[in-house]
């Protein structure tokens, strides 16, 4: 088995602040993803990466940057936090680089912006 570890679990930021979320996986999976979870809006893809140093934009990439410097890690940066923003960011990975039949998720990072 493997695990996906997201840090931090909770993140409180100030409006306009740059915030970084980290994700590590020990499945040795090729593909990793960042999703944003909002109540009533489902899971929306922000960025994904099919291999080390690859980045692909999802539907919600504006306002975010991502980095995949190692196969095992995938970080997400909120470039300028929006006031009163609240969401959960979920990292995921999948074994197959060409499809995502099954995603393995982390527990999430809950973001609150004051």
């Amino acid at each position: 088995g493997g695990i996906i570890t997201q840090t931090p679990k909770f993140l409180i930021g100030q409006e306009g602040q740059k915030l970084t979320l980290k994700c590590q996986q020990n499945f040795n999976h090729d593909t990793m993803y960042w999703y944003r979870q909002d109540s009533g809006k489902g899971l929306r893809l922000i960025y994904y990466s099919i291999t080390e140093n690859d980045l692909q934009k999802g539907d919600l990439s504006e306002g975010y940057d991502a980095s995949r410097e190692k196969k095992s890690s995938f970080s997400l940066t909120v470039t300028s936090a929006q006031k009163n923003e609240m969401a959960v960011f979920l990292c995921a990975s999948s074994p197959d680089r060409f499809s995502n039949e099954r995603l393995f998720f982390g527990h999430g990072t809950k973001l609150s912006v004051l």
Binding site: G40, G42, Y48
Partner: protein, 115 residues
């Protein structure tokens, strides 16, 4: 593009009653995969069911779903709800047509089971 519709945002049931969570989808691909993911509070979302075969019932952990391509539906059912079934359920669609398929999620249905 692809889309997944989960009509109910919240379903509240009494323990022991049957569960049915609706999922319909739109895609141009005939070989799409449909999934149900479940997200329990304080846990990570995980795969519950998946299917790409028309009219075949798929079962796991007491839940079942049948993909009906004629009606573009993949409803999740269980004969008798338990308190522990309370969670957020996502229907999702994978289009394997491209070199990098993207998973399209519905908005989610929160199932609340009460005693």
């Amino acid at each position: 593009g692809d889309s997944v519709t989960q009509k109910e945002g919240l379903v509240t049931l009494t323990e022991g009653l049957p569960v049915m969570l609706n999922c319909t989808y739109q895609t141009i691909y005939s070989n799409a995969f449909l999934f149900w993911y479940v997200h329990y509070l304080n846990e990570s979302p995980r795969l519950l069911l998946k299917s790409s075969t028309d009219n075949k019932r798929t079962e796991h952990q007491g839940f079942h779903a049948t993909l009906h391509k004629s009606s573009s539906s993949f409803h999740l059912q269980k004969s008798s709800a338990q308190l522990s079934d309370s969670a957020l359920y996502y229907c999702a669609l994978s289009d394997p047509g491209g070199s990098n398929a993207k998973l399209t999620f519905g908005k989610g249905t929160k199932l609340s089971v009460k005693s």
